[in-house]
Amino acid sequence: MPEDLTDTLDRARQDAMLSIGALWVRYFGLGGMGTALELEAYLFGALRPTAHEYDVLAQTLNERFDELGADRTIPYSDD
């Protein structure tokens, strides 16, 4: 997981063209345990997710990039 997550995750969310609410529903569907408010805090670097929650979020964004046919991948915590 990158040292500084400030803004990188939220920039990825914007590139994925998802609202925070829409991202949360997808993240929840992939097993994410954070609330929508916690997710927002992860996105803006106000709260640091556990490696596992970070991976669920990265997976959510990466599946969305695949869906859009975008050549982009968020690294996982063990990459």
Partner: protein, 259 residues
């Protein structure tokens, strides 16, 4: 090559119904949209929007294809399109994340591209549009309450196809489509949200079952089981949910056995 397979062959500009001039196409549109009545759910709303697209296609002079795109699941989606070229044009814009339709839906004002040859905005999208034989585009925003929520897109094979009367007609159709959206807004959001949550719960359930199977098989923790799922889904270019489903299915006896 005509990119618009089903798009009014044989109708030259002079044979098309006059736009704006007699006021008849606009009256026709108003009348038919009234018939569409208040959409009660998404299916009805989508049908009404398809009607708007069909009407815009025949009444706007120079229109070779029309589409309506809306924000659904937090992302732009084409909900009605007059043909495949038009849906392709929309898809190209979602994929590149740019274009008049994306801009109109995000910024809430209209975008008019008179000639794709002279267009400097959207450098990733414009070449794709040209490949599809398009030469001018008019995207008008749709609004639900004050927020922009989508766009009405009109595409033409001809350069500078749209002038003042066409711009007026396009905004009339956009206003009508927006009214349909406002009326349907409450139903759409409640229905849509409950559907999304149900689907998300089904996904979580499958994933947690698959994690259980992997924990049992490999004697690993829940988080390690998740990582295994995630890695194999990336390896097989499938979704994590699809991967979980395969694992859960693999534990079931083959159909027909044990009878």
């Amino acid at each position: 090559m005509d990119p618009f397979e089903s798009a009014g062959e044989g109708l030259g500009p002079e044979e098309r119904p006059a736009a704006g001039g007699s006021g008849q196409p606009a009256d026709l549109a108003r009348g038919l949209l009234r018939v569409a009545a208040i959409p009660a759910n998404r299916e009805v709303l989508d049908a009404a929007l398809r009607l708007v697209v069909a009407l815009a296609r025949v009444t706007v002079c120079g229109a070779d294809g029309v589409s309506v795109c809306l924000v659904r699941h937090g992302a732009l989606t084409t909900v009605a399109a007059s043909d495949d070229t038009v849906s392709g044009m929309d898809r190209d814009q979602y994929a590149t994340g740019e274009g008049p339709c994306v801009s109109a839906a995000a910024e809430g004002h209209w975008f008019h591209v008179r000639s794709l040859d002279d267009e400097r905005r959207w450098p990733a999208f414009i070449p794709r549009a040209k490949e599809r034989g398009i030469n001018s585009i008019l995207s008008t925003p749709l609004r639900s309450a004050a927020e922009p929520v989508g766009a009405l897109n009109i595409y033409s094979r001809h350069t500078a196809a749209f002038a003042a009367p066409e711009l007026d007609l396009a905004s009339l159709f956009a206003v009508q489509a927006s009214e349909l959206l406002v009326k349907a807004a409450v139903d759409v959001s409640v229905e849509e949200l409950s559907r999304q949550l149900q689907d998300a719960l089904r996904g979580r359930d499958l994933i947690s079952q698959a994690r259980g199977v992997l924990m049992e098989r490999h004697g690993v923790t829940a988080d390690a089981a998740y990582s295994t799922l995630r890695r194999s889904s990336r390896q097989h270019s499938t979704t994590l949910r699809g991967q979980a489903e395969d694992i859960v299915t693999s534990t079931q006896p083959p159909a027909g056995d044990g009878r």
